[in-house]
């Protein structure tokens, strides 16, 4: 099911399905036209000498008339094919651009080089922020409200829908509908800087019940540390440079510059899909982000080994 692989053909939603059908139709029609053109070309090349042997005036004239006939029909057919392709594209686009009724609204902000995801809700206590990995319920239309904080990015989840740009100073929208539960991966599709390739995106399509369970869990503040080491980790987090950019709900850390870490432990990867989320990877990421993702905005943080160990344990415990 597109596990860890982007595929626009292995579709999991009606929108991607329509796009894939259009792609198949265009490919089939153009392939047939191509074969016919090549066939006729070969035939004409072989026939050239036979044509030259025609001696009489009358014979030549009848051949010209035949040629005019063939060209007229071929032109008409070309126009017809182009109109058919144009119309099929028009109808697919019309259905893709129809705004959904009563969608779930998610605000997606592109950053160098990660995705900020915020679930919108009229009631502020029901809003939640996460990063790079997000969940949607199957069957329900989701409207993404796309913006960018720095440069132009492009949202691309090929098994669910097509691309849409995130442009600074502008707001774009895109609709997601997932048919079947599963994990789908996406990618920034507009070159946005040194680490454009390491700006990945993971979508979990859940059954509505699972989604609600996940949402309720994500609405909770960051888990209280249970052990002494985790308590120490939290105090390292709130006293080192982490707090200037990151937030953990329920603590003093409330900056919105970097990804929200309230439920970091529940995500599969860190640094927008660069590394799997293990305490070891977290530690090397904190110590030397510029070695793993040169050009990312996260600065290196020098910490004594004990503090670093406590910090990664605390971060891993934030489920």
């Amino acid at each position: 099911m597109g596990q860890g692989m982007h595929s626009a053909i292995d579709t999991a939603g009606p929108r991607a399905h329509q796009i894939a059908e259009l792609l198949t139709f265009f490919t089939a029609v153009t392939a047939i036209v191509y074969l016919i053109v090549i066939g006729v070309l070969l035939w004409a090349l072989l026939r050239k000498r036979a044509r030259a042997r025609l001696a009489g005036e009358a014979e030549r004239e009848s051949a010209d008339r035949k040629a005019r006939h063939v060209i007229t029909w071929a032109t008409a057919l070309t126009v017809l094919i182009l109109i058919t392709l144009g119309l099929s594209d028009f109808f697919v686009q019309r259905s893709l651009f129809t705004p959904p009724t009563d969608p779930l609204r998610i605000l997606v902000t592109g950053h160098q080089f990660w995705w900020e995801i915020e679930y919108d809700h009229p009631d502020p206590s029901q809003r939640l922020r996460t990063a790079n990995e997000f969940h949607i319920p199957t069957g329900k239309p989701v409207q993404l409200v796309l913006a960018s904080r720095d440069v132009i990015h492009s949202f691309w989840l090929p098994s669910i829908t097509g691309k849409k740009d995130l442009i600074p100073g502008r707001i774009n929208t895109e609709v997601l509908i997932a048919d079947k539960p599963g994990l789908y991966t996406g990618q920034c599709a507009e070159f946005c800087g040194l680490q454009h390739a390491k700006m990945r995106l993971v979508l979990h399509a859940d059954t509505p019940e699972d989604f609600e369970k996940w949402r309720q869990q994500q609405l909770q503040p960051g888990r209280e540390p249970a052990t002494d080491i985790e308590r120490r980790g939290r105090s390292v987090f709130t006293s080192a440079s982490c707090v200037l950019c990151h937030s953990v709900q329920g603590t003093d850390a409330s900056a919105t510059i970097g990804p929200d870490l309230t439920h970091l432990g529940s995500r599969g990867t860190i640094a927008a899909g660069t590394l799997s989320n293990t305490p070891e990877n977290l530690a090397s990421w904190i110590l030397a982000p510029q070695r793993l993702k040169p050009g990312a905005q996260m600065p290196a943080t020098k910490l004594p080994p004990d503090d670093l160990g406590a910090l990664t344990q605390y971060l891993a415990s934030l489920r």
């Binding site: 605000l107 919108d120 009229p122 100073g169 040194l194 440079s241 200037l244 600065p299 290196a300």
Partner: protein, 183 residues
């Protein structure tokens, strides 16, 4: 002559153009000194006796466009704006003029950010990593035109009197507003 050998003329022009090519290095992962020892910083050129102030070391971010623009971003992220506005000053002193209470050398500005200063400037030592402090220093100096002109970042979009072209026509609020409260 040149009309007879256009290739030669072209090659000369190409060579001249190539000589001008220089790609700036993005210093993303260098380990900068946490600071020059803060005690040694001279806050004022005024002193008893006639000894001149010590020679200031060269500041590597002086002409690095990447570092200066990173500093510009951090200036906003870390809310320097909150007190110093866009350089014009508000409840904090202006940074775009030539009056410096605690010195305008990179080392002095570094010390001011790291140590804090009386009457409101907080200390960011231990919170902002050294490399980012140096980037901020570079931008603060750019505000008063003390960096190389070609490395200076452009003016931010919001400082122009007209909206930038790509922001025209998008006035819809992004997040939904809270439900109306019963009166």
């Amino acid at each position: 002559m040149s009309s007879r050998c256009p290739e030669l003329a072209l090659a000369c022009v190409a060579l001249a153009v190539l000589a001008g090519c220089h790609r700036e290095e993005r210093r993303v992962s260098e380990q900068l000194p946490a600071s020059t020892p803060l005690e040694g910083i001279v806050l004022s050129d005024l002193r008893a006796g006639g000894t001149p102030p010590p020679q200031k070391p060269e500041f590597i971010y002086q002409s690095n466009a990447y570092a200066i623009s990173q500093g510009k971003q951090l200036y906003e992220w870390f809310n320097c704006k909150g007190c110093h506005a866009d350089g014009g000053g508000a409840i904090g002193p202006a940074l775009m003029d030539d009056r410096w209470i605690y010195g305008d050398s990179p080392q002095n500005i570094y010390a001011t950010i790291v140590e804090g200063r009386p009457n409101g400037m907080p200390s960011f030592g231990g919170k902002i990593p050294p490399q980012q402090v140096w980037q901020l220093v570079a931008y603060v100096r750019a505000l008063s035109g003390q960096v190389r002109k070609d490395a200076d970042p452009g003016r931010a979009d919001h400082l122009f009197t007209r909206k930038s072209e790509q922001s025209l026509g998008s006035t819809t609020p992004r997040a939904s507003s809270p439900p109306p409260q019963p009166q």
